[in-house]
């Protein structure tokens, strides 16, 4: 009896994946982004072990709720930005502009990003990410994910992505893409920042992706933007300022 159920479950799973694969998927995924400030500060060259311990002691038990983002995807296109806040008791703060648009069919992107208080618009061809596929599995929101790794030379970060081939959309949060399935989690520098899927909704019919008609920002080439970031990090560290107070980690 038990075996029968298992087989049918397996069969159902297969059917599901077939039906999923048969058409390009659409829906929304909510991601939660958390940043571990203590760990980030610990890596700054002028911070002593005593400072690190002190921060762990004082702030280590504080739990951050993180911030919610939403990826909407349809027809191999995706938009990633802040999730509209639900009612919260606290005061509202202005957020830095952040809009990541990917068209995997045309292999093109449009980003609206902040750089130290200034808004930039970056357009171009999706750069190829050099992913290494690792031998690790884990489950995120009911999906078995595999682990992949890449290195971001601009910010000096090791990026781990957990993707699932059960969702045949070759993108993910923060513009990461190029893996054989949807990325459900991004982990930067071993937990300094974790962006993880908290809600996956494949049933909502998306009529149109929430792309604004006009995307403001100073036009800049990706390479030039990357250069600004590398320079800013180097300069901040030289001046003993944590660059990540001003940059998205």
């Amino acid at each position: 009896m038990m075996n029968h159920i298992k087989i049918s479950v397996l069969g159902l799973l297969m059917l599901m994946s077939i039906s999923i694969t048969a058409q390009s998927i659409e829906g929304t995924i909510t991601y939660n982004r958390k940043t571990d400030w203590i760990s980030i500060m610990s890596k700054l060259p002028w911070v002593t072990q005593e400072d690190i311990d002190r921060r762990k002691l004082t702030w280590g038990n504080e739990e951050s709720k993180g911030r919610d983002y939403m990826l909407s995807f349809k027809d191999d296109k995706s938009v990633y930005s802040y999730k509209k806040e639900e009612a919260s008791v606290g005061y509202s703060w202005k957020k830095d502009p952040y809009l990541i648009i990917r068209d995997h069919r045309k292999n093109s992107f449009i980003d609206q990003r902040d750089f130290v208080g200034k808004t930039y618009k970056i357009e171009g061809e999706i750069p190829k990410t050099k992913w290494k596929i690792l031998n690790e599995l884990k489950e995120i929101q009911g999906y078995i994910c595999m682990k992949a790794e890449t290195y971001d030379a601009v910010t000096d970060q090791t990026i781990h992505a957990w993707f699932t081939d059960a969702l045949p959309f070759f993108g993910g949060p923060e513009g990461y893409s190029g893996l054989p399935g949807m990325i459900l989690e991004i982990n930067k520098n071993d937990g300094d920042a974790i962006i993880t899927a908290t809600k996956i909704d494949l049933n909502s019919d998306i009529e149109k992706l929430p792309i604004p008609k006009k995307i403001k920002g100073k036009q800049i080439e990706q390479e030039e933007y990357n250069l600004k970031i590398t320079d800013f990090i180097a300069e901040s560290i030289e001046g003993r300022k944590n660059p990540w107070w001003r940059l998205r980690y």
């Binding site: 002691l57 004082t58 606290g90 208080g117 031998n135 690790e136 599995l137 595999m146 001046g239």
Partner: protein
């Protein structure tokens, strides 16, 4: 030019041809099946670079399980197939050009237990290494206090015999390592039985030889396995401490130590300080080290109101005396002149685990200070000037014990309860003696010599209970709290003074000898209850409703005895009791709009005071009781938004009503001090303060420029003031009154920017304020207007790692104008220059030099007082930076003096206190975490 272009074309063509000739391509195909030989459709197949597993291409299998990669560049490659529920399968697909047929790739299903228990239930990632699988054990729930053995029993495939022998999938685990190191002579049982499960982050089991196999590529079936237990980061370490001991000339000495041990759950710390240099030496770092996760108690403000809205803000201290909290005591004991001798110390314990937070702290402080002060005070009256000179010596000792226990429990995800208790005991003694003289237009009228002894002791008990509740409806929240505070103070003093009176020619007339014993009992109890309710109204609107109740009861009993010979005779004139009861209620509501960085709040509250006061004097004459009720409407408005990026604007209006002191309402004559008589006024009304404030800031983060401007303006209705009458014998009579008028304006402008990025920067600010204080003096209404402006500039030079220099200058000018005595208008100027150099020297030595020059000028006293202080120290880290030796000189010019000056009301005041001046000190520091040899000042970002 043409030739060059041709050559270039030729070379590129050769290169391109060469490359394409080299790049041979091949095709890869195969079929994926499961162990039952069924074709595996829609399995993901990825093509990887063999050297580093870099992803090259990916595809999915067809319905018949087949896949194919076309035109793959020749080289060493791997094919990897993955499918939900199966172990990923990797095969070699390298080629030098020939097509590769991988044939049938058989995928085996993932151990079901592993899938269900590890991946799905425990949400633990699993990692495959050949055939062995490892996973994160920290996600497995085990009861508190469990050993690793208990944890292992829960892991799939793991078996633990009754004698502690461990095996996995039938293979014996012969060796256990912790963080890759052998543990207890590699007896696996010792490690698994003794280590706590909660300290483990990862359990890895691999063939004992597998590491070697990975290097050589050889595979052999091993019967023995090794288990490695990885410890959680927070269990690895966490503990620091330091001790500093110094001894110097002028019998100076300093001793300071702290020790701290913590992990994710428990924080324990000790701190102790003893010195007679007046430098308490406890910094913010020490404070954080001592209180740990309890350092910053956000949301500590339990008296709900318009602001906040559940936001987190930090409230520090605010109370003094017995009601001072540990935080403010910790930072007290700074140099206030004189010759101090301080002892402080405490112990703190925090337990912080999941839903429970417990913290307890005890702190002892003892301050002893000997002061010898000369004071000069002038008061300007319409037709004469009163001058008072005092020469006082005091010896003060105060001791305080303070303890706090807090418990916070999360009952469910929506409800939190917090209970707090704190207690304090203080005792103080102050012996003072001295002489003073009062002059009228430079002619002596009264002289006084005295020798008093004051002894106080008292305790405080306080309890608070607080409930925070959220609701399923997002944004709805409720806060309730109630607290009881009790204090009891015994203040006893012995007065021994001789007053001498002189006639208008300055000839001795008469004298009065006062020999008294004063016994004072003061009790106070305060009950508070507060409630706050926030309701989202849809869209971006919220309503916030609050209620505050406070009932303060104070009663006191003062018994005064005249000492006649050896007898104590009750002084009926001065002996009295009082019994006051103040009930305060406030209820208010506000509407808030919050969206995209804009918040607008508007609200209204009604506040009522109920004042009841009863006083008797020893002659049993009842003073007419006070029984008054006041009601006031209090509006509130706050707007904040950011008009452009990196800017912030905040504007607010609020109104407050302050109740009069009951003692001021009681219509009796208080002539404890025969030269300063106070008469109550039953007609006093609450003072209404209207406050408008604005804040604008803008930053240019890339260039490092910051600008901010703050301003606030308060104006009053029924401002509390005084009606003073000074008679010809210089006896002052004071009646508290309400007076319309009076205002205060305060503004602060700051600008900082770098001159040379990371090398030279400027920080400057300017403070401008104006206060208008109306009083009535000898029947004339006098407005005292004080206008102050204080610019400040600081230059930071950080040219290189080995040195930094900080220079600053501050100028503060305060102009005071009197309506009734324009000739007495005056200017008080304080100038301050400072320079600080931190530098690395030769032979691993460092130096800190600090020079501070302060100048006080006052045109009334026609005086200019300069105090230059130079402190310098030379230090060198020793023992691998674990310790430091330091030689210091403090106040090299031997100029230290506690100096104070101020102008207020109708008077001007100046005092100087003889203080500890030049001394040398040698000190040694030992720091478990290494001493810091930094030539930069800390900054927070």
């Amino acid at each position: 030019m043409q030739l060059v272009r041709h050559c270039f074309f030729l070379i590129t063509s050769i290169l391109v041809f060469h490359v394409s000739a080299q790049t041979q391509v091949y095709n890869i195909k195969g079929i994926v099946e499961d162990t039952l030989r069924n074709p595996q459709a829609y399995a993901t197949v990825v093509l990887l670079e063999k050297s580093d597993s870099t992803l090259m291409e990916f595809t999915r299998t067809e319905l018949d399980g087949s896949f194919r990669f076309k035109d793959v560049k020749q080289g060493n490659h791997l094919i990897k197939c993955t499918y939900v529920g199966f172990i990923p399968l990797t095969v070699d697909a390298s080629s030098t050009g020939q097509d590769i047929d991988c044939g049938v790739l058989k995928m085996s299903p993932l151990n079901e237990q592993l899938m269900e228990i590890v991946v799905k239930a425990a949400k633990a990632p699993i990692k495959m290494r050949g055939d062995t699988i490892e996973y994160d054990a920290s996600t497995f729930q085990v009861p508190e206090g469990s050993s690793v053995e208990d944890l292992l029993r829960r892991l799939p495939g793991m078996e633990v015999e009754s004698d502690g022998t461990i095996s996995q999938d039938g293979k014996n685990i012969s060796k256990v390592t912790v963080d890759g190191k052998n543990f207890f002579g590699s007896d696996p049982k010792a490690a698994t039985k003794n280590l706590p499960a909660e300290g483990i982050s990862k359990v890895q089991v691999f063939d004992t030889k597998s590491e070697q196999e990975e290097l050589t590529g050889a595979t052999s079936e091993s019967q023995d396995k090794t288990m490695n237990l990885e410890l959680k980061e927070e269990f690895k370490s966490g503990g620091f401490g330091k001790i500093i001991a110094g001894t110097g000339t002028e019998s100076t000495g300093e001793l300071k130590g702290n020790y701290n041990k913590f992990n994710k759950k428990i924080q324990f710390s000790l701190v102790g300080v003893a010195n007679n240099t007046g430098r308490n030496g406890l910094s913010w770092d020490d404070y954080q080290d001592f209180l740990g996760s309890q350092s910053f108690n956000f949301g500590g403000g339990t008296d709900y109101g318009f602001g906040g809205g559940g936001g987190r803000f930090f409230v520090f201290g605010g109370n003094s005396g017995i009601e001072a909290d540990i935080q403010s005591i910790f930072f007290s004991g700074g140099n206030s002149g004189g010759f101090p001798e301080n002892y402080n110390g405490g112990i703190n314990f925090n337990y912080d685990h999941k839903k429970t937070k417990v913290s307890s702290v005890y702190y002892y402080n003892q301050v002893g200070i000997e002061r010898s002060t000369i004071t000069n005070q002038d008061r300007f009256l319409t037709d004469f000037t009163q001058n008072e000179n005092r020469d006082a010596f005091s010896n003060n000792l105060s001791r305080g014990h303070r303890a706090e226990v807090k418990l916070e429990q999360e009952i469910d995800s929506l409800t939190t309860v917090k209970v707090e208790f704190n207690g304090a005991y203080i005792d103080e003694s102050n012996r003072s003696s001295g002489s003073s003289s009062l002059l009228r237009n430079d002619i002596l009228t009264t002289a006084n010599t005295y020798s008093n002894l004051e002894e106080n002791d008292g305790y405080l008990l306080n309890g608070l209970i607080l409930l925070r509740r959220k609701f399923m409806k997002k944004g709805r929240s409720l806060g309730l709290n109630a607290s009881i505070l009790n204090t009891q103070l015994d203040k006893n003093y012995d007065l021994n003074s001789n007053l001498e009176f002189y006639d208008d020619q300055g000839n001795f007339e008469d004298n009065q000898l006062i020999l008294q014993e004063n016994l004072n009992d003061q009790d106070k109890s305060v009950f508070k209850a507060n409630a706050l309710y926030v309701e989202p109204l849809g869209g971006n609107f919220f309503s916030q409703t609050f209620y505050n109740h406070r009932n303060r009861s104070e009663n006191g009993d003062r018994r005064v005895f005249d000492i006649v010979g050896n007898e104590l005779i009750t002084n009926d004139f001065l002996t009295r009791t009082y019994d006051n009861d103040i009930i305060y209620n406030r209820i208010g509501s506000s509407l808030r709009y919050s969206n995209d960085g804009t918040n607008i709040t508007a609200g209204l509250a009604i506040q009522s005071f109920d004042l009841k006061g009863l006083a008797t004097i020893a002659t049993l004459q009842m003073i007419e009781p006070v029984d008054i009720n006041f009601n006031n409407w209090l509006p509130y408005l706050n707007i904040n938004f950011s008009p452009v990026r990196n800017s912030y604007v905040d504007i607010s209006y609020s109104r407050d009503a302050n109740e009069p002191d009951i003692a001021d309402l009681q219509p009796f004559v208080d002539n404890i001090n025969p030269l300063y008589i106070r008469i109550g006024n039953a007609a006093l009304e609450p003072e209404i303060q209207n406050r408008i404030s604005a804040r604008v800031s803008r930053s240019y983060p890339l260039s490092g420029v910051r600008i901010s401007l703050n301003g606030n303006f308060s104006f009053y209705q029924n401002k509390f003031s005084r009606n003073e009458t000074v008679d010809e014998d210089l006896v002052t009579t004071v009646i508290p009154i309400n007076i319309d008028g009076g205002s205060s304006f305060n503004s602060y402008f700051s600008l900082s920017f770098p001159i040379i990025k990371n090398k030279v920067s400027i920080r400057s600010n300017m403070n401008i304020s104006q206060n208008i204080n109306p009083t009535i003096v000898n029947d004339f209404e006098n407005n005292t207007t004080t206008f102050t402006y204080a610019p400040y500039v600081r230059l930071s030079f950080t040219p290189k790692k080995e040195m930094s220099i900080y220079l600053s200058a501050r100028y503060s000018s305060s102009n005071t104008e009197y309506d009734i005595a324009e000739t007495q208008n005056q200017q008080v100027i304080t100038t301050n220059y400072s320079a600080e150099i931190k530098s690395r020297l030769l032979f691993g030595m460092y130096t800190d030099i600090n020079f501070n020059y302060e100048n006080f000028q006052n045109d009334r006293f026609n005086q200019s007082q300069s105090i230059p202080i130079l402190n310098a120290s030379l230090y060198r880290p020793i023992f691998n930076n674990k310790a430091e030796v330091r030689l210091s000189i403090y106040d090299a010019f031997n100029q230290n003096l506690g100096f104070n000056q101020s102008a207020s009301g109708i008077g001007i005041y100046q005092s100087s206190t003889i203080s500890l001046a030049r001394y040398f000190m040698a000190s040694v520091t030992y720091n478990m975490r290494g001493v810091k040899t930094d030539t930069r000042k800390n900054h927070w970002w």
